[in-house]
């Protein structure tokens, strides 16, 4: 059961968080001018906070249920985890700060931070997965990582196609061709789930003794967490019609 809890949050992050990482990666392609970029960011704005907590929750589940693995996985991959965290921080701050000052240069700078952070995050997730999945380390791990990044990028485009309108939507749907936007999203999401599951199968997942206490608690609160997220999805289910607060 503990393994399913971990998988739930890890896969939830890959699918939900993966979409907003992908949109960040594709930002220069999707948004050609400052106004367009702002609208593209509005596609992920209400979701990115709620998405990234899936990874935080996964870290919490690791700390509580698999503390030994947590230490091994993180400290054993310090060369990947440090860039991952830095990319995450840079990307987040780009999203938070870009709209706070009106200047074109200010926005351009932080849009750059969003793009760089999104690519950094995607590639470091990819490198981490290639270590776990294939046991590859060093520069050679960048090849499978690039593949993971491409899948994340495609997933982001699929998500953007579902959220944006007009020219932006057409640009985002470059991979879907015509009307298959939802199908493309389902496909890229499935690809990420497969990668995540294969990675998880390679991890030594033996739950610690606290599981007997913690697992029931997690099982009780999880429906509540999903309901809260569902409220957000429902509230922002319509296509983006203009810029957001970011």
């Amino acid at each position: 059961m503990e393994i399913f809890v971990l998988a739930f949050f890890a896969l939830g992050y890959l699918v939900l968080g993966g979409a907003d990482i992908g949109v960040g990666m594709a930002l220069p392609y999707l948004g050609r001018g400052a106004g367009e970029r702002r609208e593209v960011i509005a596609a992920i704005a209400p979701f990115f906070l709620g998405n990234e907590v899936w990874l935080v929750a996964m870290a919490g589940v690791l700390a509580g249920l698999f503390p030994e693995l947590e230490g091994e996985l993180l400290s054993g991959n310090v060369a990947v985890v440090v860039p991952l965290l830095l990319s995450w921080v840079v990307r987040d701050m780009g999203l938070w700060l870009r709209g706070r000052v009106p200047g074109v240069r200010w926005r351009g700078f932080w849009d750059g931070a969003i793009v760089a952070g999104s690519w950094g995050l995607a590639l470091s997730l990819g490198v981490l997965l290639s270590d776990v999945l294939l046991g590859l380390r060093g520069p050679v791990a960048l090849l499978p990582a690039l593949l993971v990044a491409v899948v994340l990028g495609a997933h982001g485009l699929a998500f953007a196609a579902l959220r944006l309108r007009g020219e932006l939507r057409r640009r985002a749907a470059v991979l879907s061709g015509g009307s298959g936007e939802a199908r493309t999203y389902a496909l890229t999401a499935a690809a990420l789930v497969v990668v995540g599951v294969l990675g998880g199968l390679r991890l030594p997942l033996t739950a610690g003794p606290t599981a007997s206490l913690l697992t029931p608690v997690i099982l009780v609160v999880t429906p509540l967490l999903v309901a809260a997220q569902a409220w957000v999805w429902w509230t922002f289910r319509h296509r983006v019609t203009g810029p957001s607060y970011l």
Partner: protein, 418 residues
Amino acid sequence: METVDLARLQFALTAGAHFLFVALTLGLATLVAVVQTWATLTRNPVHLRMTRFWGQLYIINYAMGIATGLVMEFQLGLTWSGLTEFAGNTFGASLAIETLVAFFLESTFLGLWIFGWNKLNRWAHLAAIWVVTLTAYASAFWILVSNGFLQHPVGYERAGGVLRLTDFGAMVANPTAQVAFFHVLGGAMVTGGFFVAGVSAYHLRRRTAEQDLFRKSLRIGIGVALPATLFTATFGGIGFETLQPAKAAVWSGDAARIAAAQAELAAAHGPGDYLPPAGWVQTGALTMLIAFAVMFFFSGLSAVLMLIRPAVRSLRVWHRLLTLMIPVPFVAMLGGWVFREMGRQPWAVYGLLTTEQAMSPLTGAQMRVSLTAFVTVFAALIVTNYLLLARAARRGPDAVTLGDRPLDAPPTEPALSL
């Protein structure tokens, strides 16, 4: 510097920065939630503008709190895997509960609050900020349960070289955690109160627009700061009762007590130096106490002055001093935190695992690269973020974009349909 010192410095800088941001977050969230409640009940436009103004400052501050917080959480596994392997089965439980029960909901609802402005029903929107505020408290609570365990381990047994939890209730009820929670919560209210009062005083002194809004805010800020200062000091005082013997001895400076504490620990754990660094412990505590005295005196005086209408309007010396007071609660927070955390050295888990043993098997080069990278990025971001906070505070409610009518909404909609 040894590798373990680099790791400690990295964690200390991350946690210290995080503490500064979350202190203001906790305090401001409460004030924003209360003001928004009032605004929702009365539909008073001044309170609506207050909610948006203080809400925007809250969000700018919040961003950096998340960034530092998530790096801190991952640092536990990254640089302190000895700690997670040895004691993860105990305090990891409260960390897990914190992320799932508190932080997950806090972030989800914060998104709903920020982007759901003018979109959600106004009661639902009000509920969102209250969920954000209460889950922020819950977050602080569970983190301090984890910290309390490291300070004063209870409810565990030692089996096969690692700890396991035997009594979850005891870990939660740990007085070292409970007292610290109320102390920190009070400290956050002090920080929020002085911040709101100080920013309001700036606008009153400059005679900017919205004098009414800032007179109201000034009174709220001081009205919170004075009782919160007393509340915080009370729990701080109780906290002195829960100090570890070595910390208490070093703080007292009494040579006989220090020698006794050292002898007792050496008898229990073998030869070694078991005393925390006296300079840090005493400076931390003194900083906190002096700052408390200043805040207590000043908030008491201000509580009287704010009842005098002409003073609120135009006692500009007082306004200037109020603005200058903004950093003092932050200094007190850091002082208290240094006292608490340096004071438990050399232990990571008091009496069970030393900080040196808690360290991950990382090389000095790895630590130096990691430390340099984090410090560079965080320093730049923190400075930027504080400049932005100051900019938004100075520009006042007119420049607020939080809760703006969506640009795409039909123009017939009222500008504020909260």
